[in-house]
Amino acid sequence: MHQWSRAESTRSRVRGPAALFVVVTAGVLIGVLGIAPLRSQLVTLEAARTTAPVPADDPWSGVWDGAPAREVPLSVQNLVPPFGGGVVDGVVVRALFDDERIYLSLEWSDPAAEAEVNATEAFSDAAALQFPAIPGSTPPYTMGSEDEPVNIWQWKAVWQHDIDEGFATSATRYPDTYADVYPNADDPLFNPAGYVGNPLAQRTHASSVENLVAAGFGTLTSAAIQDVEGSGEWRDGTWRVVFGRPLQAAADGLAGFTPGSSTQVAFAVWDGGSGDRNGLKSIAQFIQLDVGPVVAPPPPEPPDDTVVAAPAGDTETEIPWVVIAVVLAALLPVLAMVIAASRAGRGSAR
């Protein structure tokens, strides 16, 4: 039924010389000056093994005191409309694991807790973790792609409120609202979103964390298996949220965690008081998540019956950015001369 197709993304009109300039600049920045535009990718969070129980219903539990903490800067989401967010500028992350489960904790400053969505202008605080859905893949942190989907765990203050204090309706906010009668009040048909199984419209939740999958912008979908537990509690201007889940994925398409190996995790925080929802959020790119000390994989042994020297194309090599930058910088004047000559040629042809 959907007849609208997504418009083709605006094609880059950057022409050759400009593109070259961008490449050279990036090369110089990365290679010579050591400035990485994706700084948070350099951060590694190591989950610490714990033998103490980690309560999923107590984000302020003392068990987290021993977990190594990393501060991850957050920034405004300005990659895809609607742009927004950026009010929360950083989040402190911690991770623990035991033989069965992995736990992550987020902590960020927020002067006010917003946990109700029962008015047109009311939006809920929230926080989310994003993992590659396929083990070992490196999906774009922009909610993955068709080939490399992601698994997202979103904790919602409003679901926490639903669990702790009951589902807040418009009547909760406006208790003096009067209606003569609500015909067919018990008929679920007249709550269409709930009737068709929209998880947002359900009155009860097993967890304040929703398990979601995505394969690019606009594709976010609640997962069939809801096995992420968690809770959040706001104390004196700070939210603490804990997430917990079995290490092993319950199904394909959900993140898996193996002690002694790495995966990636990205973060997003929504400030309901600033109107944050959807793409209006403060975000961080993927960082490395080590599940305990990472054991280096043994060097691959050459197969017995093949030539020892592998073809050059089969091995990945570190890209020597400095060399590329210097070479490109040296080529720039040559290219400029070529372009000037070609323009002059076209001019005389007219």
Partner: protein, 410 residues
Amino acid sequence: MASVYNWQLGREMTYRFDQAAPERQFVAIFNINRCIACQTCTMACKSTWTFSAGQEDMWWNNVETKPYGGYPQHWDVKTLELLERANPGGQTWGGAPAAEAPYGVYGGRTIFEAASLGQQAVGYLPSDEEWGSPNIHEDSPVAKAALSDGVSLPEHRTWFFYLQRICNHCAYPACLSACPRNAIYKRPEDGIVLIDQARCRGYRKCVEQCPYKKSMYRPDSRTSEKCIACYPRVEGSDPITEGRPMETRCMAVCPGQIRLQGLVEVAPDGTWVQAPDNPLYYLIREEPMAMPLYPQFGTSPNVYYIPPRWVPRQYLRQMFGPGVDDAVAAYERPSRRAQAVLQLFRVTQSIIFSFEVVEGPKVAEINVGGRPLEIFDDTVVGYGKDGEEVVRVNVREPQYERPAQYLNTI
């Protein structure tokens, strides 16, 4: 951003999606001149669709009093102001009317073109207070000026009029382009715009960016809902229709007979396929007598209005575009054919797909604006989807005279 043709603006404009016109488009005409603000349409809609908890302030159909009233309050001036701020003094029209530019060419910016980087359109999220008190204070006169000499045509000095509003099921819906989840879609068979209640996550971007404010948030389902154009009636799947496409509830109940609704055929490029025997096409494109509401917003709305003939033209031009002077003139002195077509409003629940006029005798000659206007008792016949006759009415309404012996009796 793609480029689409908006014939109401007489030009291409930017939009999030490529041109993808429906085969037919849901279209309605409201004759403002005849509305008495009885709110029967409002209550018919309310009692059909929005009577449940969380929908108390949700009125998919509403009738407000202009110039001061609005639901939500000040919805139109707020959006006009956003356009003005983005493009000061630039919201002007130019060029001569042409075949696919019947109102000339809009030289200003649409809500899509005025948007800042990272947004699909300019817009705002109304507060609960603005939704909460429809029609409040609208009947309170605020000035005595010009009461004695303020009500002579062509423009009253003391004036108001009723504006009947439903979702415009726009050709280029701002709600649809606003939704980051693509949870809103426009049906290819009739152009009706719907929110998928399974995909909506209550972000309210549609509420924010619909310039007509006809997407509404329902706190009890935590999703946004909107007018569904009574699609089971329009598609003929509601049992009451017996398979014959039927007008929506708000159209069918109108005691003032101000509404006419149906479907027009749309070409792949977004223009309307010529159909002078379709009553909607005839009044909107042939006469033209009915005008779109705030065409400068750029969504190409599909509810058209026969503008109130007593209202200062400057106000009407802002609200209905530069074609409004001709529309008022066409309504004040309706052509013989228009006199017949105007009889089709609210005389059958069936959607009229085409009409035919059978000429009758001249029955009157009246004076309009110092010139004579001939009235003919023509018969207009309305035909349904399969060409079957669904209604037959005369220009002169039947009159009955009560016999003398029954005077003062019930």
